[in-house]
Symmetry: C4
Subunit: 224 residues, 4 copies
Amino acid sequence: MSSSSLICELARQFYDLGWVTGTGGGLCIREGERVIIAPSGVQKERMTPEQMFTLAMDGTVLERPADPKLKPSECSSLFLTAIRLRNAGAVIHTHSMHAMLATLLFESEFVISEIEMIKGIQGMGYHDRLIVPIIENTARESELAESLQAAIEAYPETQAVLVRRHGVYVWGRDWVHAKTQTECYDYLFRAAVEMRHLGIPTDATKGASDAGISSRPAGQYARR
Amino acid sequence: MSSSSLICELARQFYDLGWVTGTGGGLCIREGERVIIAPSGVQKERMTPEQMFTLAMDGTVLERPADPKLKPSECSSLFLTAIRLRNAGAVIHTHSMHAMLATLLFESEFVISEIEMIKGIQGMGYHDRLIVPIIENTARESELAESLQAAIEAYPETQAVLVRRHGVYVWGRDWVHAKTQTECYDYLFRAAVEMRHLGIPTDATKGASDAGISSRPAGQYARR
Amino acid sequence: MSSSSLICELARQFYDLGWVTGTGGGLCIREGERVIIAPSGVQKERMTPEQMFTLAMDGTVLERPADPKLKPSECSSLFLTAIRLRNAGAVIHTHSMHAMLATLLFESEFVISEIEMIKGIQGMGYHDRLIVPIIENTARESELAESLQAAIEAYPETQAVLVRRHGVYVWGRDWVHAKTQTECYDYLFRAAVEMRHLGIPTDATKGASDAGISSRPAGQYARR
Amino acid sequence: MSSSSLICELARQFYDLGWVTGTGGGLCIREGERVIIAPSGVQKERMTPEQMFTLAMDGTVLERPADPKLKPSECSSLFLTAIRLRNAGAVIHTHSMHAMLATLLFESEFVISEIEMIKGIQGMGYHDRLIVPIIENTARESELAESLQAAIEAYPETQAVLVRRHGVYVWGRDWVHAKTQTECYDYLFRAAVEMRHLGIPTDATKGASDAGISSRPAGQYARR
């Protein structure tokens, strides 16, 4: 299957998961030095391969769809940032309710530990604390690229960056890796919300200190 | 695809989203000066194109299905109100649980701010306060048309009107716009309910003043 | 489509709604003086028309599947009770989580008012109080028939009976009516649970008196 | 249908239920003295029959897929433990959110009583207390086999074992039995979480003593 067709198929699956409704969210797949990327502002569950753009690693448009009204995804610069800094083969951006709500429960870092699904994140074991940096949202998605880059550089092992009141960016070495990691993160974000409802700390390594956002340390971008 | 077929396809999708169960909810699509509209009281996920009505802008039935038992949707006068006042190309009415519950949390206006999905609503940016007027429900759907008209006139920028303990009407310049806006609103209604559960204010611009329905200002139809 | 095929198709749909998992729940469709009914203890989303039974109104098996291991649904006597007492054309039994949880919130009657979906129940308007009797569960499903009959007789207008810690029986004049009423009831059961979480009374006609099961009047089978 | 094809079909269904996302979870089906088992670390909703392994009862690989990168599921030793000790025909392992959350609400035993779905578990009636042992999670799935065996031996009637902060293992005499029991358990785990939110004890036989994890008796592996 071509990367263009695969993007359309995955986007339909992500729509059913509630990750890309309202034209929000998106994904890209890298082919060597080319990046296949969806257009901006279209229904993600109804895209066709003919609507895809091909970008160079610096963002130059190499191929574009015939429809002159289409523009590359607003996420393009963020996708390319993750690809360049992490050599990612695919990047996924979701507006999942679980991701969005998770950003409301923590100050600068989402932290969870001792949940089996943590093992689905590259380099992480069951007893490791999973930390996902949270960056502040901006008025335009393209303006996020700078703070995304800062977060990726400050957290060299992270596979994802949360955006406050917005959603999450997740990458991987190829589309399978990016997708399965996104599923694990989404499970963990949902688990954190459910655990908060039940009064159970998300970070088993430090007791009850995540009881509220006001008790969180503020040191954004602090290294683990 | 004809508008009749499209209505059937979209209604199946809306059923899966929980928006039109129990024969509730509906949608219409405008073709110039004609409005294609579904029948009343049928299973929305099992409609066929032959069951559609065609109405003139004043509600006159131009074409009707062969089955004499079918009547145009009870929502017809409400749909036509939104079309006439806003030049809408499509109108969607859902009984989404999220929309219904959202009307229980606010007095006369649903208010939310600083959630990325707000950007999916026409004319709105991330830092804008999204306001959706809430009108009181009536015994018959057709009786709602007058208060819907008043709300649309009082809130000239709104793309939607909530109906207390009932659901929501959303419109757009065409079916894609109406549908994607409905998805964004539904996400925001759900977010508001989830944020209430977590004790987080929905209106980030004014702190904790949305703690309960009793603390809301009552000025229905006040201009923003 | 034959009633046997329709039962299989509807059961798949009900499975996706979470109504008939774990072989629980079921449905029957009446054809004149014959009742087509599914077998007991099978996966409801994988039934085939050849597995259906045909019963007479008194429960006599008129036709049975070739597979000798199959037995008629445990619900058969309850289905036939609703058919005989209400002249129902179809009966649906679900183990929906929403129905089960709703029985934990009320003593002998589920009560809700002023929710639009109430209008989907036969004979009910928006301002009517919808009452669904709740009967106590028994060790075997077939033993429920007597108390189901008592509840149907005590509540001559009800279209459904809840079974404590178990689920709900809903009927209608035909399969469409039974199914759409089940959807409306299920929405209302879910709404009641969500409203309880939000601290909102389900019965708008009497204020906050449904704050807890201990404050409910106990008069089981009292007439409305 | 071959067992290999059936495993793929069931895995797609389990993915839609949220049981096997992020490559987590899995299942196996026994054919006499051979066990068909899925590979480790693959997307469970996209498996093909050619990717399956065939193991002997002692874990020896009898047949393997052509792709040299594939390894048998990490769950293999746990699956074989359940098969040997209980003569199971199929074993299912899920990371269902409901199962994971249920392990956070109880100390060493999940206990629920008087819920109709309990009757879907082998040997259980409506008035029986359903007890599922909870074992502690370990860093590697294969290390769990020893404590799984201890739990199965200590609870000779159980059809499932929960793993803390992880998920559940369920077996049955064949794939239908294993699957339908997993559906019943999942419903009961979800019910327990919802009941906790509503302040309703899960164990109707002993009143409010399940109000919090700190009040639970600690006697892990105690006989019922």
